[in-house]
């Protein structure tokens, strides 16, 4: 027993998978300690805020300033305000005035601006260019000049008479320390369509999904193990009966059954635990079959015969002479069931048949929301990509653990 465990923890694949899984679990436990609160709270008004750190503008203008003269500040400012469309338009202009753009890199803002200075001439009217376009270039040129010039922003308030009075001047060399700003919100993964913090939601959803996988795995393993042991060890009519039921469950694709049961349960009945149980209830056949065939090959072994001759009860024989011999298979089957349970929940939720949407987030529900609100077409990658990555990582770690166990328990695969 101890030896087997040592062997298992010497398998680099198992240890790799196990480490990833434990890291994920630790994140589930530790992150909420630093960022407590309801993961479904809508902090944003509006949809899909980009990932980043948000500084409250109101508080920032009131915060004390420091003056820094940073050389690249102006360039960064310009680079930041230059949109992709502007860049495309600039390239168009260069082409129109027959500049050499063979090795022009549009992401190199410095070079772009340098060339702009060199080639832009408001008096030149390239052939075939419409007026509106020429005016657009004039505006663009002005905007660029303004950005470079370092104009001050003046903040003014109305006095009693209603006239604007300057209260504060903001220079382009003014900096505020983010620590001095009262409200700063870090959203490493932005917000989703409902304005919820995606990272917080993701952590909570991963926890729920793993729990769903575990419940599904436990339910499937318990049903499969019990029926498999009974069918294999007792045999006879019971075996025929159990195999009949198993065959029915095998013939109907598990996922179809899952959809039908979930649908008939209705949205209100579908809590996460219920969905997990339903998933487990539709996926035990594989465990049952493999346990049964293992038990059939074990039940006529001499050590079982010896145990019978020693007067042991059926229960004790199953527990001490059969179970330990199939334990490794059961553990491996369980790990696979957990992994497929998580995937099943995701599939089910994508179809809108997952857990009800108001209580807890799950990985599947997050995918469903992202899809419903077209995150994938409007470029809001942060709403679905981290979810896919998490599902992949969980499956990967579980399957890696399984492969490691397989190599230890079925040494033929060992290289």
């Amino acid at each position: 027993m101890k030896n087997t465990l040592r062997q298992v923890f010497h398998s680099s694949k198992f240890v790799g998978g196990f480490t990833i899984f434990v890291l994920i679990l630790l994140t589930m436990i530790i992150y909420p300690l630093f960022n407590p609160g309801n993961p479904l709270q809508q902090i944003g008004v509006g949809t899909f805020a980009k990932p980043g750190t948000y500084v409250n503008l109101y508080d920032a203008t009131k915060a004390p300033t420091e003056t820094f003269r940073l050389e690249d500040a102006a360039e960064k400012r310009m680079a930041n305000s230059l949109s992709e469309e502007d860049k495309v338009a600039m390239v168009e202009w260069f082409t129109a005035v027959e500049a050499d753009i063979s090795d022009l890199d549009t992401s190199d803002t410095d070079k772009m601006l340098e060339m702009w200075e060199q080639y832009y001439d408001p008096t030149v009217k390239p052939k075939g260019m419409i007026r509106a376009k020429i005016n657009y270039y004039k505006r663009l040129d002005n905007a660029l000049k303004e950005l470079g010039s370092g104009d001050t922003v003046i903040i003014a308030d109305k006095d009693e008479t209603g006239a604007l009075v300057e209260t504060k001047k903001i220079l382009d060399t003014d900096y505020v320390n983010t620590n001095a700003v009262a409200n700063v919100k870090s959203l490493p993964l932005g917000t989703d369509n409902f304005g919820r913090d995606v990272l917080k939601e993701l952590v909570s959803a991963t926890g729920t999904s793993i729990r769903i996988g575990l419940i599904a795995g436990i339910v499937a393993t318990l049903i499969g193990l019990t029926l498999g042991l009974l069918a294999g060890y007792v045999g006879g009519f019971l075996d025929d009966f159990i195999m009949f039921i198993t065959n029915i469950f095998t013939v109907i694709p598990g996922f179809v059954l899952l959809i039908l049961i979930s649908y008939s349960l209705g949205q209100e009945q579908r809590g996460a635990a219920v969905v997990a149980t339903v998933i487990g209830f539709t996926s035990w056949t594989w465990t049952c079959r493999s346990v049964r065939s293992q038990v059939i090959s074990l039940r006529n072994r001499d050590h079982v015969n010896l145990s019978k001759l020693s007067g042991h009860s059926l229960f004790r024989i199953v527990l001490t002479d059969i179970l330990p011999y199939i334990a490794s298979y059961v553990v491996m089957a369980f790990i696979l069931q957990v992994s497929s349970g998580i995937l099943s929940e995701a599939q089910l939720s994508l179809l809108g048949l997952g857990p009800k949407t108001t209580e807890v987030p799950t990985l599947g529900l997050m995918m469903n929301w992202a899809m419903l609100y077209s995150a994938h077409t409007n470029g809001s990658w942060w709403a679905y990509f981290p979810v896919i990555l998490t599902i992949t990582l969980i499956s990967f770690s579980l399957n890696l653990m399984n492969t490691g166990l397989d190599q230890v328990f079925n040494p033929t695969l060992r290289d």
């Binding site: 015969n305 019978k308 020693s310 001490t320």
Partner: protein, 284 residues
């Protein structure tokens, strides 16, 4: 094993211990039908050392499983101590197994590899109603049993059976029988998977055990020379049938069935005077 050739007693008048009428076992059906044991009759007496001899595949193990009550006969009836054997319930089976025990062919697969040796021996004490004995008493019993088979129990505690050699495991099996003291011991080729050296020791121990407890031993073997050497009575089995049986000398020194003759001719020195110190027990 330096004693003289065994005196072969006449058991025909001894009380019946295990007997059978028309015992048959058929596996499968259709064209996969195998008649493993085909209407065999037998009478084993108390204190008798019976050998069942036959080639591999002749149905010896199948018969032994039926005798042990581990599998049901397709046809026929088995009598235990003269009365029809009743093992219809778990309780009756457990009672039956107090009277009949076995040693199997392969010591490596006979033990649960997850259980310590102590557990194996303790189970035997418990089966004989020794649940309420003190720890020391149990320890003494296990030590005595191990001593009987030349093992040191002190060195075996907390070990697993697979940490022993094949010969040691088979001796542990005999220690089990020593503790259980059954009326009948069924030994299914107990020496065919151990080294030649352990082989002689194990046979010696079986004979000692018989003398000590006075039990019936049903010894299954493919080695007719060995059967001649140790048994009172031999049954020769071919294709699931007993082709010949009787006192060991009569059957082996004066065989009638062609099959018996062939088995005997396969053993080199059978007609020479048995000298126990030079008997080659390997005789494959």
């Amino acid at each position: 094993m330096s004693e003289e050739a065994r005196v072969q007693k006449d058991f025909t008048n001894a009380p019946l211990c295990l007997s059978g009428k028309g015992v048959t076992k058929i596996f499968g059906f259709g064209n996969r039908r195998t008649v493993a044991v085909d209407h065999v009759d037998f009478e084993f007496h108390e204190g008798e050392f019976v050998s069942i001899v036959g080639e591999s595949g002749s149905g010896k193990t199948t018969l032994s499983k039926m005798l042990l009550g581990l599998s049901n006969a397709t046809e026929g009836e088995i009598f235990f101590q003269g009365k029809p054997r009743d093992i219809s319930s778990g309780k009756k089976k457990r009672e039956y197994w107090k009277g009949i025990q076995a040693i199997f062919q392969d010591p490596f697969s006979s033990f649960n590899t997850f259980q310590k040796i102590d557990t194996v021996l303790l189970d035997c004490i418990h089966m004989r109603g020794g649940k309420n004995l003190s720890k020391q008493e149990k320890f003494d019993m296990m030590t005595e049993a191990c001593h009987f088979v030349n093992l040191e129990f002190r060195e075996l505690t907390n070990k697993y059976p697979f940490e022993l050699s094949g010969g040691q495991m088979q001796r542990l099996m005999i220690a089990r029988i020593f503790l259980l003291k059954p009326k009948i011991l069924l030994a299914d080729e107990p020496t065919s998977m151990v080294d030649a050296c352990s082989r002689a020791t194990i046979l010696d121990m079986l004979l000692n055990l018989r003398d000590e407890i006075g039990m019936t031993i049903i010894f299954i073997t493919h080695d007719i020379g060995l059967a001649y050497y140790i048994s009172d009575t031999v049954y020769i089995m071919e294709h699931g049938k007993f082709v010949e049986y009787g006192k060991a000398d009569e059957v082996i020194l004066n065989p009638k069935a062609a099959y018996t003759k062939r088995l005997i001719s396969d053993v080199p020195k059978i007609h020479e005077e048995w000298d126990l110190s030079t008997v080659d027990l390997k005789a494959e």
